[in-house]
């Protein structure tokens, strides 16, 4: 596709380099691996996974897929909440990451939906039965349909409306096949004072509507676990707030890593300057400290005078088979706090260290999601069964790798067809 020379920042749109093709090929190879593994699971059944019945088969019916569903939905949190807060609180320093935050949300929710599909044995039946027989008051409905359908739709509307101005700019300056796509997105947008006022009003109300939906969505996901009275390890009032905070951690961490990558790839130090990373790093620091506090409170409650079953799950996590995952995750969170706290106290911020903290908290978030989902099933049964075990097979690992590859590929493609950073107003130093 031919792109005319531009006077506005274009942020790499239309520049297809060898490095991009190599990265895209790697991502697509992961997608192909995931597709092969999933076709094996579809044809042979979930026996090819490590998932087994709780109790009688001493296994776990929810494993890596559900852990990653929770992780992906958590990642989506930061995207749209950052974008909404930027609008509501007029956080101008973070405007450069608003678009990537919106795209991150949409992609993460798509991956979350695919994780659900991967988890159910009969995906087509689930797709028909969920809307037919689910009840809106069920937390399962809230998670698997409302979160993914309503929240995804709201995020797409937000991304679409927020991108119209840039789409109109792109349509004016592009020829070739993409021009039609830009015109369609712009939908007759004219950059007038009235159009801007209307857009400001729309995004303000959209942001206001999305934020409660977002907190509800993430709390609902926690409630799926927290409401199960017969499942030691899950039954806790802290599940919902814990889910919201951990969602914020993984999402903001992901956003930091993406912003650092975009800054490096596009050499965009002007818009993605240290102020952006200072803001995001400080938000991440506060969220991580809150989550560490929740973790300590939860462990104190579970180890001080808890009943036998609760203690068994906690010991499995602290000193039993899940201890390596727990201590590595806790260590990664503490290391991230140390990195971010040092920057906060000294006032010296670095992109690399903040991005490293983002990677650490995401590794910790994956581990924590795994620990939330699995141990209660293998060690938390109230029935007289012995302790169980769950280890994901290569099929599950390959499907998850495929999903991660798909997410990376979608983000890379978006970066090449649309400005990943909002094109600045002329008054903001547009080149």
């Amino acid at each position: 596709m031919a792109v005319k020379p531009l006077t506005l920042p274009w942020y790499g749109v239309g520049r297809w380099s060898g490095g991009w093709y190599a990265a895209a090929a790697l991502a697509l190879a992961l997608v192909a691996l995931g597709a092969v593994a999933y076709s094996l699971q579809l044809s042979q059944g979930e026996v090819v996974t490590g998932l087994r019945n709780v109790g009688t088969m001493r296994g776990a019916t929810w494993g890596l897929y559900v852990a990653f569903l929770v992780y992906f939905v958590g990642v989506s949190f930061a995207g749209i909440s950052t974008a909404a807060l930027i609008r509501l609180l007029d956080l101008r320093p973070l405007r450069a990451v608003a678009r990537m935050a919106e795209v991150l949300t949409v992609i993460a929710l798509l991956l979350g939906a695919l994780s659900v599909i991967a988890d159910v044995g009969r995906p087509l039946r689930a797709l028909v039965y969920l809307p037919t027989y689910a009840r809106p008051m069920s937390p399962f409905f809230g998670t698997f349909t409302l979160v993914i359908a309503g929240y995804l739709y709201a995020s797409l509307v937000y991304l679409y409306l927020d991108g119209r101005r840039d789409a109109a700019l792109c349509a004016q300056r592009t020829s070739g096949r993409l021009a039609r796509f830009y015109r369609l997105w712009a939908a007759g947008f004219r950059d007038t004072a009235e159009a801007r006022r209307r857009h400001e009003r729309t995004t303000f109300w959209l942001s206001l509507a999305i934020l409660p939906l977002l907190v509800t969505a993430h709390s609902t996901l926690g409630v799926v676990f927290g409401l199960q009275g017969g499942r030691p390890g899950w039954h806790s009032a802290l599940q919902a707030p814990g889910f919201v905070v951990l969602a914020g951690i993984s999402g903001v961490g992901h956003l930091i890593v993406l912003a650092a990558l975009v800054r490096w790839l596009l050499d965009e130090r002007e818009r993605l300057d240290l102020t952006v990373f200072r803001w995001l790093g400080n938000i991440l620091l506060v969220l991580t400290l809150v989550y560490l506090y929740f973790t300590v409170v939860e462990l104190l409650t579970a180890t001080y005078a808890a009943d036998e079953h609760e203690t068994r799950v906690t010991m499995a996590v602290l000193t039993g088979p899940y201890a390596p995952v727990f201590w590595v995750s806790a260590g990664a969170l503490v290391a991230a706090v140390a990195l971010l706290g040092r920057q906060f106290l000294t006032g010296r911020y670095g992109v690399g260290l903040t991005a490293l903290a983002g990677v650490l908290v995401n590794a910790a978030a994956v581990g924590k999601r795994y620990l939330i989902v699995v141990p209660s099933q293998t060690h938390g049964t109230l029935l007289p069964y012995g302790d169980g075990a769950y280890l994901p097979t290569w099929v599950e690992l390959a499907v998850i790798a495929g999903l991660l590859g798909l997410g990376a590929f979608l983000f890379m493609v978006f970066m090449k067809v649309f400005p990943i950073i909002e094109v600045p107003e002329p008054s903001e130093g547009g080149r």
Binding site: P136, T145, L146, Y153, R164, E194, R198, W205, A209
Partner: protein, 71 residues
């Protein structure tokens, strides 16, 4: 017209959510059979999602539809 349509979608969306939640799905009365596990009307959940979608579609209508004055 644009404002009326926008407001209609927001109010209509919330009404659809309330009706599908309370009238089509909520288990009213004392559960006496397995049927209480299902919504009273099939697709109540889909209607609820439709209500959510209607509310957010209002944003599209508000921003995309031209004003009568500007035509």
């Amino acid at each position: 017209m644009r404002r009326v349509l926008t407001l209609g979608l927001v109010v209509g969306g919330f009404v659809v959510q309330a009706v599908s939640y309370l009238l089509l799905a909520a288990p009213l009365g004392i559960p006496t059979s397995e049927a209480f596990s299902n919504p009273r009307v099939p697709f109540a959940a889909a209607f609820f999602v439709l209500g959510v979608v209607m509310v957010f579609t209002a944003a599209l209508v508000y921003e995309l539809l031209p004003d009568e004055r500007s035509r």
